[in-house]
């Protein structure tokens, strides 16, 4: 079974796509944040497996960052924010789960169609990994577009970033400095977004972004 390491790598990348779909399916904030933690956990596993098959020890650090920050710190912090803002019981109005999921399938189709021909010359392991990573990224983007609640937009943003990390680890030879700085910039972005959330909440009594449209006089 010489294919097994590659198969496991694909399997982990595929489960990341699956968890992305699971995030699209959730319509409660708490379960969405739980899914976000699972997403980061799968990412950490995937990166650790890449570290193992590429014999690249610095990737273990990336995996540890994914596990520590994204699977533990950020979901807990987000949950606390949700709780403090008193929106932990709210069910979010999503455009329609079925439609969103179909759009997600379309995203996967697009990323496979685009990525596989472009990378046809390169390493067969990296190819499908990058295609799957691009679909994780696009689904994260889709989630930011289709959700109205600012907290779930953050969750979409985080899952998008997980897709970037997956792509980066699939392609061999990304320097550790870049990875660490990306991880920290995400953390900074998270803090800034958090502060903004509380400001929006103070000003409008809601974190629904339709309030911003009304404020600008668009509706």
């Amino acid at each position: 079974m010489g294919h097994l390491p590659f198969d496991i790598a694909h399997m982990l990348a595929g489960s990341l796509v699956l968890v992305s779909f699971a995030m699209l399916y959730q319509n409660r904030l708490y379960s969405l944040l739980n899914m976000l933690a699972v997403h980061a956990l799968v990412l950490a596993l995937s990166v650790a497996w890449q570290a193992y098959i590429q014999h690249a020890p610095h990737l273990y650090i990336t995996a540890a960052i994914a596990l520590g920050f994204k699977a533990i710190v950020i979901p807990i912090a987000l949950k606390r924010m949700v709780f403090q803002m008193g929106i932990h019981r709210e069910v979010e109005t999503v455009v329609g789960t079925g439609l969103t999921m179909l759009a997600g399938i379309a995203m996967v189709a697009v990323s496979l169609e685009v990525m596989l021909p472009v990378t046809s010359g390169s390493d067969p392991v990296a190819r499908e990994d990058i295609a799957l990573a691009l679909s994780v990224l696009l689904i994260g983007l889709l989630m930011m577009v289709t959700r109205r609640n600012a907290v779930s937009q953050i969750a979409g943003f985080m899952s998008l970033e997980n897709g970037i990390v997956l792509a980066a680890t699939g392609a061999q030879g990304m320097p550790l400095v870049v990875e660490i700085s990306v991880a920290f910039s995400i953390l900074i972005a998270f803090i800034v977004i958090g502060i903004f959330l509380f400001r929006i909440r103070e000003r409008f009594d809601t974190v629904d972004d339709r309030a911003l449209d009304r404020f600008r006089g668009e509706h």
Binding site: I8, G14, M101, I105, V108, L112
Partner: protein, 320 residues
């Protein structure tokens, strides 16, 4: 040789009949233990069936022949479908007919008959039950078909015996993982298990399957309950034989003794798979709440999406 093959096939058919109530009993017992109740003994479903068989049938005045015939046909079709799924061995005598699409068709006819019989009496519960069942089925059946296409693209066949043989060497594949999740969702929906329907409820607002069989009693009810138990076993064996074909006896050996040994191992593995599935189902059902009826199409829709996604991945890249 043919006589021996017939015996193995007979064992396979009887196995479905003999183990189905035990599996249901196991799920009920495990659920009760998880809720810290003592629960009915494992053999209780057998006793229930015997008791129901001994009771008189109470028929509504306006019941037609359809209402009386339906339970037996439902039972027979479900049994045939369950007997077609390879459990402990591939390459049995009737394996050529064990086709996934045939099984879907058999189960589809079961559902059709059940809905007709529920409408026959003309009570409002029968109507609500069959309309809901049809609503779920209209999503679950395409989902099942998409999942079958995914498998067929990998195995290049829809025949279960061949699929199981291919899966021995298929390795880990993303599309198969997607198909597994899809299959589990469809199995939960089709067997009226908890997030979709509650098999133990008689509350008007939530029941689906129970609403359809509300008018049945006596031996008719026994047939329908037995058919439901066999259906649960069928889905568990289906998932076991497609995704976890470990330990199944492969094609016929020439000698009798190795064949018996291989089938013995196959039977033991099958029993282990059933036990695991029963416990996992009980754990899942106790940890989740039933969803609203109008949320169910989303849930089953996920299975359809997974089937689509799996097919898509296989069309684009042969190695996924």
């Amino acid at each position: 040789m043919t006589f021996e093959a017939l015996i193995w096939q007979g064992i396979q058919m009887m196995l479905a009949l003999a183990l189905a109530p035990l599996l249901t009993g196991l799920v009920r017992k495990a659920k009760a233990r998880l809720l810290r109740r003592r629960g009915a003994p494992l053999l209780q479903p057998y006793r229930d069936l015997r008791r129901l068989l001994g009771k008189d049938v109470v028929l509504a005045d306006n019941a037609s022949w359809l209402f009386r015939v339906a339970p037996y046909v439902i039972f027979a079709l479900t049994w045939v479908a369950a007997a077609l799924v390879p459990t402990f061995s591939t390459g049995l005598m009737f394996s050529w007919s064990g086709d996934l699409i045939a099984i879907i068709a058999l189960l589809g006819s079961v559902r059709f008959l059940q809905a007709l019989a529920a409408l026959d009496i003309g009570t409002s519960f029968g109507g609500i039950g069959s309309s809901r069942e049809m609503m779920f089925a209209s999503l679950a059946e395409p989902a099942m078909n998409m999942l079958v296409f995914t498998l067929a693209l990998v195995a290049r066949s829809t025949q279960l015996s061949t699929i199981a043989n291919v899966m021995f060497g298929a390795g880990l594949r993303v599309s198969l993982a997607l198909a597994l999740f899809g299959f589990i969702i469809v199995a939960i929906a089709e067997n009226a298990r908890i997030p979709v329907d509650n098999p133990a409820t008689h509350l008007e607002l939530t029941m689906v399957h129970e609403a359809m069989v509300l008018e049945y009693s006596g031996r008719h009810l026994a047939m329908i309950e037995f058919a439901a138990m066999i259906k649960l076993l069928l889905y568990v064996s289906l998932i076991g034989c497609i995704f976890f074909p470990f330990g199944m006896a492969q094609d016929e050996q020439a000698l009798l003794l190795p064949r018996i040994l291989a089938c013995g191992i196959g039977l033991a593995c099958y029993a282990a798979k059933l036990a695991f599935a029963g416990l996992a189902l009980a754990l899942f059902e106790t940890s989740i709440a039933k969803m609203r009826v109008f949320r169910v199409p989303d849930f089953i829709g996920v299975a359809l999406m997974l089937g689509l996604l799996g097919t898509l991945l296989l069309f684009v890249s042969r190695s996924l």
